[in-house]
């Protein structure tokens, strides 16, 4: 009961904050601007097509590339917003002194932390899903391409956001807001480094790939967001049978930022556990914290 009251309060607070309004307005502007720019790009591409490729194939293959690139941008946008929006979820209340009248009430501290976590999880997941489908609708409208495994891609994208939320929940219950923000941002930005290094080694010396793979695995265990995005990008691609028709190759999507392979099931399980264990640990730690 207390947990749901805190969740409801967190949702209300999020809606009332100016940040929410600013994000909503800017999000709409981004989607409108994206639709206009995409329209310009497609018109330019079609005009440049001298009839060697059919218009539909050109649109669909362009749609595949644009979908992956656009949703990579969305992944970056949602991740940054998740960190900015949630870095102060516990520490902000402690620093402001607003918890001083909530904690003595007849509810357990675990309920406060998990209630706030649930509130922010709803906001983050809802925003990510809305933006995900908004971009896909625009892409479909302009190119006719709709990723057949879009729900899987969204699922992994949401999981990446929940991983970041788990990090901010844990850090926010232990350290001040600024430290939480710094840790979450550094981990998030640092994670793709492993993918970049792996890509370079793959090009320069494929024989050394196994040794670098171990480092990548460790980094993915510490911060699985990049691996989850790579997994999501795989589900944004068309079925492998369609690659040849569209004039694309799966290998061209093996970049530091995209992947043509599914996420390893073990890593997926690890990410799910990550999202569950970290908030629980945060709640237990907060139970013992002096305010």
């Amino acid at each position: 009961m207390g947990l749901l009251l805190i969740t409801r309060f967190t949702l209300l607070e999020a809606v009332r904050r100016r940040l929410f309004l600013a994000v909503m307005i800017l999000s709409i502007l981004i989607i409108v601007a994206f639709a206009m720019l995409l329209n310009l790009v497609i018109n330019a591409s079609l005009q440049g097509n001298n009839g060697q490729t059919s218009t539909q194939i050109l649109l669909l293959s362009g749609g595949v590339v644009m979908t992956v690139l656009t949703l990579w941008m969305l992944y970056l946008l949602c991740s940054t917003l998740t960190i900015v929006f949630t870095a102060n979820m516990i520490s902000g209340e402690v620093e402001a002194g607003t918890f001083a009248v909530i904690v003595p009430k007849p509810l357990r501290r675990v309920e406060i932390v998990l209630g706030k976590w649930l509130g922010y999880a709803i906001i983050v997941c809802l925003y990510t899903a809305l933006m995900f489908f908004a971009f896909l609708v625009v892409l479909y409208w302009q190119t006719g391409y709709w990723p057949p495994y879009a729900p899987y891609a969204l699922g992994l994208l949401e999981l990446a956001m929940l991983v970041l939320l788990a990090i901010t929940t844990l850090c926010s219950s232990l350290v001040p807001t600024i430290v939480t923000g710094a840790i979450a941002l550094m981990l998030f930005i640092g994670a793709p480094t492993a993918s970049v290094v792996r890509f370079i080694v793959q090009v320069v010396n494929p024989a050394a790939l196994q040794s670098i793979q171990n480092v990548v695995t460790v980094i993915n265990l510490i911060i699985p967001t990049d691996a989850l995005w790579h997994g999501a990008s795989y589900y944004l691609l068309p079925p492998s049978a369609d690659f040849a028709v569209l004039g694309l190759s799966a290998q061209s999507f093996d970049t530091p930022f995209t992947s043509s392979e599914q996420i390893a099931p073990a890593l997926l399980i690890w990410a799910v556990l990550y999202c569950i264990v970290l908030p629980i640990f945060a709640a237990l730690r907060f139970q013992r914290r002096d305010l």
Partner: protein
């Protein structure tokens, strides 16, 4: 009814100790506050009193010792339904309207529906904020924040309310209103734990007081009895000669000349009967006596003396003698 409640403890603290890293904030504090009682917790800044209140409110965990509120350990959630707490310099979610704020806290107490709405209106009126239901807390003054804070503390009709520096943000009228309100709540049987360095609050409201300094309780008792000392006489006399001061000094424990009024002497003696000796001595020195009356020392003076005495190291000679 009240007499029965007097014997039931509202707060029981035994051997309470709180250490922050190497700093001992509270050291072996023990006291009992009874139901229906207004209990003052007095001490200078940094004495450890806020730490004790925060422990009582469940915000800070004790290093050792036991605490029971209304007969229950601090972890008991049902007990916490019967507790109200107002922190020092409270800060609330500024985006909330006054009514929303109270409704949220009421729901945390398990209140809802018509009962909650009615109680919100009642407490807003009690703290003098009726008509402010739709005003955002972000637009509230410091004093209004204190008032709405008290409103949330008494929203659940608590058996025990913990108040940390209640009047710190209030103007004199607000302070008087709050004291009147607390008296009213106390007369209704509410137990009030008041942490303060405002002696006037404690004097006006509290049945008993605990003096705390440097993490330790120095004294516990009724305010007047607690600060009871030797009688002091205010003596108006002219002229005040060196001989007079010397002779008074011989029979008195202490003689002090008023800095602003040199004809006024404060003479501390061992017994009330020594008033006659003072009068005789004035005449013997050829001075005229214009007034001789018991001097009631302010609670503040007595409090400061108690705190000073606790800080003053005992000289080796005096200790040996």
């Amino acid at each position: 009814m009240i007499a029965t409640m007097d014997r039931v403890p509202a707060i029981e603290v035994e051997g309470l100790r709180k250490v922050y890293r190497s700093l001992v904030a509270v050291d072996n504090v023990s006291f009992v506050m009874h139901r229906g009682e207004a209990f003052g917790f007095l001490g200078p800044n940094g004495a450890g009193k806020s730490t004790v209140v925060k422990i009582l409110a469940g915000l800070v965990l004790p290093t050792s010792g036991t605490v029971r509120l209304l007969g229950q350990p601090l972890s008991n959630l049902e007990m916490r339904r019967r507790i109200g707490y107002l922190p020092e310099l409270p800060n609330f979610h500024r985006w909330l309207k006054a009514k929303e704020f109270l409704e949220f806290h009421g729901r945390l107490y398990g209140m809802h529906g018509v009962e909650l709405e009615k109680r919100c209106r009642e407490v807003l009126a009690l703290v003098g904020l009726d008509g402010r239901e739709q005003q955002k807390l972000g637009t509230f003054s410091k004093g209004m924040m204190q008032r709405i804070g008290l409103a949330q503390a008494i929203l659940n009709r608590p058996d025990l309310v913990l108040l940390d520096e209640l009047v710190s943000g209030l103007d004199p009228v607000g302070q008087r209103d709050m004291r009147d309100l607390l008296r009213q709540l106390k007369s209704q049987g509410m137990s009030i734990f008041l942490n303060s360095h405002q002696l006037a609050d404690v004097e006006a409201l509290c049945d008993r007081v605990a003096i705390i300094n440097e993490g330790r309780i120095l004294k516990v008792g009724a305010p007047r009895l607690l600060f009871e000392g030797y009688p002091v006489f205010a003596v108006r006399v002219n002229p005040v000669t060196k001989e007079l001061l010397h002779r008074l000094g011989a029979i008195a424990l202490a003689v002090r000349q008023d800095e602003d009024d040199p004809d006024m002497l404060y003479v501390e003696v061992q017994k009330d009967e020594q008033a006659a000796d003072i009068a005789e001595m004035v005449h013997a020195c050829g001075a005229r006596l214009y007034g001789l009356a018991p001097h009631e020392r302010s609670l503040e003076q007595l409090f400061l003396r108690t705190i000073d005495a606790s800080r003053r190291p005992i000289p080796v000679e005096a200790h040996q003698s």
